[in-house]
Amino acid sequence: MIIKNKLIFGWALLLLCTFSCKEDLIEMNINPNGASPESANPNLVLSTVLTEAGKSVLNLGYQNIAGVMQHTQKDGWSGSHNSYDWNRSNSWSGYYAILRNNQFVYERAVELDQELHQGVTLVIRGMMFGLITDLWGDAPYTEALKGAEGTPEGTFPVYDTQESIYRGILDELEMANQLLSKPQSAYNSSVESADVYFNGDPSKWQKVANSLRLRFYMRLSEKLPDFAKQGIETILADPATYPIITSAGDDADMSFNTESEASSWPNNTKFDVDASNYRRLKM
């Protein structure tokens, strides 16, 4: 009898568990192989945004765009580089990939009420969308980066006109200027650990925001002369509210630390051991 009762007991437990362990099942599906987006510190992703943004700007002057601009030539495997061979590898997906991570940091910063992070990510957003529209003209902007929402609009984003993209990012950079106007100590968060450009100094980010605005007003100066003129004058008239980059020390620059292939100059000979890529590219 004792054996029997124990067995029944065990199997009754199983029966009950079948109905009541749903919570355990839900917990079981939490992926242990990566960091959870809900809990990760935004700086861990911001570092990716900033370094990848830096690399993509470098690549404008070193990779295929430089070839197309005839700044560089290759003496081998030159198809896409020397000719105007725009295949999928020259798509804008790299820029939108940076913006994906940037959007994540921005949304987390809004959630956590971190003005500094909001400001920095708006600057990057302006810079990247600026590049996209510089290179391609009309592009998805207002409905872009909403793939995760799963809506039809988010899944197949409409194209915005180049004008509305420039106007939109100018507004966002204006917002960034305000968000970044406080002294470093006044923020509830710090980007120091991720900021490969300015080591967490908001005043320098603010200068980038305004200098980018000048760049985009200049882009519009032929088509919307009054709008551009007014915007530029507003910035230049009030350096206290709208500080801009005035010295090389304010440049957003990123040093390659050469510790791994990803953090090294492209085609470097330390990691690209056959060295032929480096040799083939002629300035």
Partner: protein, 1143 residues
């Protein structure tokens, strides 16, 4: 469940439940007297366990124990005991004044009353099933020794396609009723004695560059000698009760138990020799090189190789000088003269390089088992070992298994049984497949002017451990490898330890109420270690890597069954539940590709420079909770209705929301209802409907951030570009099947036909997203795949008398799977892309379609050149890529598969044969594609059209008159005129800076001379042999540069084949003689297996191997079917011997 029980509540409920159930146990009713006895089988005289012993008209009853013994209390002498057991005729006995009643039951006469094991291990009479189930007896598994028992099922099961994907120890694929899932490997669920066993098809991993090794699937770890019986539940109907994983069918394996009447020892030993005898159609006419070379003194022209040598030993292609012509040249292994200069040696051919490289494989398996039983328990313990020495030198495979089955009778009503299987599968070296470190590839790629036996000492003298010996070892860049070096210095070892088993308690609560509960476990640990010696062409500094894999699955289940007969109606109701838990993990560390080790020949992780090591690990967990119920209703042995329902909660679906799926099956025995004319002995109609839900893989709902690599000391995380789906739904496979069973002449002729249709919807597919969404792909539920097919079996006992017994069984299968729907913006689904073509399927078309780039031809039917290839301005074919041209060239699925088994016995002699014929279907041979590109294929040389004496207009007319075979591209024929030497009718040609007098060909066709504004040709020049080399005349090419490399179609072959899967001839020593040797049985047999009798392709490749063990494009874990690349084991003629003795 909204409310969760608190811990306290749980215990409270449990205690109440215990009391309730405990008090129901009828422990002893000691009023009347007790009757005991033993129930035996008339056939073999052995006790039958589990026979129902019922008191007629009452509720009292019991079942016999493991030895067939029972004990029951009866109220009086007029009591009648009813003894019944599935598959046997029931017997009624009036008790009278007896206290011991022994009963002998005889088997039911009808063959169709065979008892089969169905879902959850429930035994049923086959006659009562409304769905098709196939049974293979254990004897079939062992008549001919196969390394994997799956191979032993090939040709024996209608509707199941069993394919070996490589040589001994490679993964074996079993697909039942066609592949219905686009992204999984479509393998069935294997259940051994109630334990679901993990098994996957894709067990390929690669350490180092191009070192792909198939470590074989885990299911092959079973010892075939332990198998008593296999039931194959083919459609979801049969499998509805196994839930999620059963959508591709279930293979239920029952192992042998200790159901014997005395101590029984069985010893069996097997040895099989695999003798390689058929090799690729490779030529040995020309040496290494890229320009067919003819010496000055022979040709009268300058040396026809601009590189100044007859053969070029740094070129991995055999387009060099003709061999065996007495031409001499300094070669890689030339001896030195007294001044230390190498001596020119005659260029001679070595036609048997591949033959000399391989060896006779030997596989020996031995098994030993001991079994016995007594009143309280029975047991069977078996041990087996298998050792294989492969046909590739230095390859091996070992298997050791220990299996224990035991049944303990606690009391009259409670039985506890357990099965435990412990096994180790290991190898010191599994040969790599595909290209790269595959020794066979390099045996075939050894230049015909090199004697492979000169490479056997595989290190360069003085550079042992550093540099392999090859013909091009003296050059800066190695383009060839020494096959012996790869066989001995690239070692891919593995060790897979596995334990699975269960403990089960059966409790006969009352004659009509039965309960069982079971706990089962499957646990494995596998270590794979790869060591690549220095100087392999893709890993010049060597490589090392180690992988640890771990897997665990536990299942706890119970089932309560109630059965009752009311007049003519029989009712069986069951309800149960199952908790499944799985986890798995892997860990890898090794060299990054191509960077190598610090010290050559030292294979440890610490011998890898920190910058060159890569490592990683991951793990997963999954749980599924299920409840299910089934009802079997019958009326008068003529109508049977089965209903099942199951509800699953899976951890991998959103909120672990439940999903429900039902099934129904009906069996109608027309022959019981109507009086049928003489030849009919059974007419049964059956039909079923079922649906099975399938959950997702773990962690498919929400993405995690991944490590994008640190920037100095700054960590970097990134969101994945692939978007997962938080609202994923389970895949649902719905199946319908109908069939008829007809038996004639007292069941000596048996026919069974089944039609089925399976619709698999909500497939989990990855689709592309516009990158501006921030993501590049997304996981969605979409699509509908539909498989339709028929399975026909015909069995007959042609002769059955005292001395002779001859039976023939045929089974025929045809299956077609179509994509009915895919996602929006997804016009086709790609399984693989290779050889400039690939296998993809457009919506509305069939799985298995193969596409290729299209040759540009003249499309205007009015043109005299209609159908002629339009060549480019150098005289080569032009192509339109496969997607744009939508140029379908074939389909890899067979039209039908026919299996035949026949057994013939005369007295104690037995002959058994199993044939497997697959008709139709195509495959692409990458091996012959490489063989042509590297100038080794004699198929390529044989297809060259020799113009002979013909030239100018005469040649043109000859070609045009025979244009079907000499100009137009038909099938895989891409015509070429000319060849390497004047004997082939070669032409002069100019190629780049070189103008050479011999070794040229031209491609018959036309090339455009004038174009309209859109660039379409409006006028053509003929390229048909007139005005060779003149402007506007025929354009010539070097024959090495005119291969059909850019077209998969040129290497597409008919995959039809006939194989003799098994042949065995055995002799049973007469019982009397065996007994005099103190044996119960003694038998001897000789056998062979897997002999390829015929292939339509005639290129000495086993079409079954067109099942490349590597992952395709969108196909997830699926192998690439319909294409092979160096998956070319020589055909073998196995000769096996077996002795089996039972003491």
């Amino acid at each position: 469940m909204v409310k969760r029980f608190t811990k306290f509540n749980n215990w409270y409920h449990l205690i109440i439940l215990c009391f309730l159930i405990g008090s129901m146990v009828p422990d002893a009713l000691a009023q009347s007297r007790r009757v005991t006895g033993k129930v035996t089988s008339t056939g073999d005289g052995l006790g039958i366990p589990g026979v129902n012993v019922l008191l007629q008209g009452g509720q009292t009853g019991t079942a016999t124990d493991v030895n067939g013994e029972y004990s029951i209390t009866v109220p009086d002498n007029n009591s009648v005991l009813v003894f019944s057991f599935i598959g046997f005729e029931p017997v009624n006995e009036v008790v009278g004044n007896r206290s011991v009643i022994n009963v002998s039951l005889s088997e039911d006469a009808s063959e169709m009353n065979e008892v089969v094991v169905t879902a959850l291990g429930i035994k049923r009479e086959e006659i009562s099933l409304g769905y098709s189930i196939e049974r293979v007896e254990g004897e079939e598994m062992t008549r001919v020794a196969q390394e994997s028992f799956l191979n032993a099922m090939a040709g024996k099961v209608a509707g199941a396609t069993i394919s070996t994907t490589g040589g001994t120890g490679s993964s074996v694929s079993m697909v039942i009723r066609g592949a219905t899932s686009l992204s999984t490997d479509n393998q069935p669920l294997f259940v051994v004695d109630g334990v679901p066993i993990a098994n996957t098809l894709n067990n390929v991993s690669s350490v180092g560059s191009e070192n792909r090794v198939d470590y074989g699937n885990a299911i092959s770890g079973l010892n075939p000698d332990d198998i008593a019986d296999i039931s194959i539940l083919k459609g979801p109907s049969a499998a509805a009760l196994y839930g999620s994983r059963a959508g591709n069918g279930v293979v239920l394996i029952t192992t042998k138990g200790g159901n014997v009447d005395r101590l029984t020892v069985n010893v069996s030993t097997n040895t099989v020799f695999d003798v390689p005898y058929k090799f690729l159609k490779w030529h040995s006419k020309f040496g290494a090189g890229q320009y067919s070379a003819i010496p000055v003194d022979v040709s009268g022209n300058p040396l026809t190789n601009p590189f100044g040598s007859l053969v070029q030993e740094n070129v991995n292609a055999a387009f060099g000088a003709e061999l065996d012509k007495g031409y001499e040249q300094v070669q890689w292994n030339s001896p030195l003269d007294e001044n230390g200069n190498p001596i020119a040696m005659p260029l001679v051919s070595y036609p048997n390089n591949a033959q000399n490289f391989v060896q006779t494989g030997i596989t020996s398996s031995n098994s030993f088992s001991i079994a016995n039983s007594n009143d309280a328990m029975n047991y069977r313990i078996s041990y087996s070992n298998m050792r294989n020495k492969g046909i590739i030198p230095n390859s091996d495979l070992f298997r050791n298994t220990l299996n224990i089955n035991s049944n303990i009778k606690v009391n009259d009503k409670l039985n506890i049984s357990t099965n435990i299987d412990v096994s180790r599968n290991n190898s010191n070296n599994r040969p790599a497949g595909e290209r790269g470190t595959n020794p066979l590839q390099w045996a075939y790629e050894t230049s015909p002017h090199v004697n492979i036996l000169d490479l056997e000492d595989y290190w360069l003298p003085g550079q042992e451990g550093l540099e392999q010996k090859t013909m091009d070892a003296a050059y800066d860049v190695r383009s060839t490898n020494n096959p012996y070096f790869l066989a001995y210095e690239v070692n891919n070892s593995f060790k897979r330890d596995r334990v699975f088993g269960n403990v089960k308690a059966d409790w006969q609560i009352s004659p009509s109420l039965n309960f069982f509960a079971r706990y089962s476990l499957d646990l494995y640990n596998e270590t794979r270690e790869s060591k690549i010696g220095r100087s392999y062409s893709q890993e010049p500094e060597g490589a090392y890597g180690i992988t640890e894999l771990h897997g665990l699955e536990t299942n706890a289940d119970f089932l309560l069954t109630y059965n009752k007969d009311i007049n003519d109606f029989g009712i069986t109701l069951s309800g149960g539940g199952n908790i499944r838990y799985q986890n798995g993990s892997n860990l890898f560390a090794g060299t990054k590709s191509g960077v190598g080790l610090i010290t050559p020949g030292v294979f440890t992780l610490s011998n890898i420079a920190p910058a060159n090591i890569e490592y990683g690990n991951s793990s997963f967990e999954r749980g599924i909770h299920s409840v299910y119920g089934l009802a079997n209703l019958s009326y008068k042995d003529m109508l049977y209705l089965d209903l099942t329902a199951r509800n699953d909660w899976s951890s991998t679906l959103p909120d672990a929301d439940p999903y429900f799926y039902p099934s129904a099956a009906l069996s109608v025995l027309v022959s019981e209802m109507l009086e049928l004319p003489e030849p009919f002995s059974l007419v049964k109609l059956r039909g079923g409907y079922a649906s099975v839900g399938n959950d997702a893989n773990p962690y498919q709902l929400l993405g995690t951030l991944y490590n994008a690599g640190a920037w100095g000391d700054i960590p970097r995380l990134s969101l994945r570009s692939g978007l997962l789906n938080p609202t994923l739904k389970p895949e649902i496979a719905t199946s319908y099947e109908g069939g008829i069973d007809l038996n004639f002449f007292n069941d000596r002729l048996r026919f069974s036909g089944t039609y089925y249709k399976v619709q698999n919807e909500n497939q989990i597919l990855g689709i592309d997203l516009p990158p501006s969404t921030g993501y590049t792909s997304k996981r969605i539920n979409a699509g509908l795949l539909q498989s339709e097919g028929v399975e026909l079996t015909l069995g007959s006992d042609i002769i059955r008398n005292n001395n002779w017994d001859w039976s023939v069984n045929l089974n025929l299968t045809r299956n077609r799977t179509k994509i009915i729907e895919l996602a929006d913006n997804m016009p086709y689904y790609t399984l693989w892309e290779d050889a400039r073509g690939g296998s993809w399927t457009y919506v509305g078309e069939e799985i298995g379609d193969i596409y290729d780039a299209e040759v540009v031809t003249v499309k205007d039917p009015e043109s005299p050149y209609f159908g002629y290839p339009i060549l480019d301005q150098t005289g080569k074919w032009q192509s339109i890529d496969a997607v744009s041209s939508r140029n379908k060239i074939g389909n890899f699925n067979p039209d039908f598969v026919l299996g035949m088994q026949t057994s013939l016995s005369y007295k104690n002699f037995h002959l058994n044969l199993t044939f497997d014929w697959r008709s139709g279907g195509d495959f692409v041979s990458q091996t012959y594609r490489f063989g042509e590109e590297h100038g080794r294929s004699s198929v390529f040389l044989d297809k060259l059209i020799n113009p002979g004496e013909l030239e100018g207009e005469a040649l043109k007319n000859y070609l045009v008159d025979n244009k079907e075979s000499m100009v137009l591209i038909n099938g895989n024929n891409f015509p070429l005129v000319g060849g390497p030497t004047p004997e082939y009718g070669s032409y002069p040609f100019t190629y780049g800076p070189f103008t050479l007098p011999h070794g040229g060909v031209f491609i018959p066709g036309v090339y455009a001379t004038e174009f309209d504004d859109n660039g379409n040709p409006t006028a053509y020049a003929e390229n048909l042999g007139e005005n060779i080399g003149e402007p506007g005349g025929t354009l010539t090419l070097p024959y090495a540069g005119s291969t059909a490399w850019s077209f998969a179609r040129a290497f597409l072959y008919d995959a039809s084949f006939v194989k003799l899967r098994e042949v065995s001839f055995g002799y049973d020593v007469p019982k009397t003689f065996a007994n005099s040797l103190k044996m119960q049985n003694l038998s001897f047999s000789v056998y062979s297996r897997n002999i390829i009798l015929w292939t339509a392709a005639k290129i000495n490749i086993d079409p079954e191997m067109a099942f490349q063990p590597s992952s395709g494009t969108q196909a997830g874990t699926q192998f690439k079917q319909g294409i092979e690349r160096w998956n070319v084991m020589p055909w073998v003629m196995p000769i096996g011997f077996k002795i089996n003795a039972t003491f």
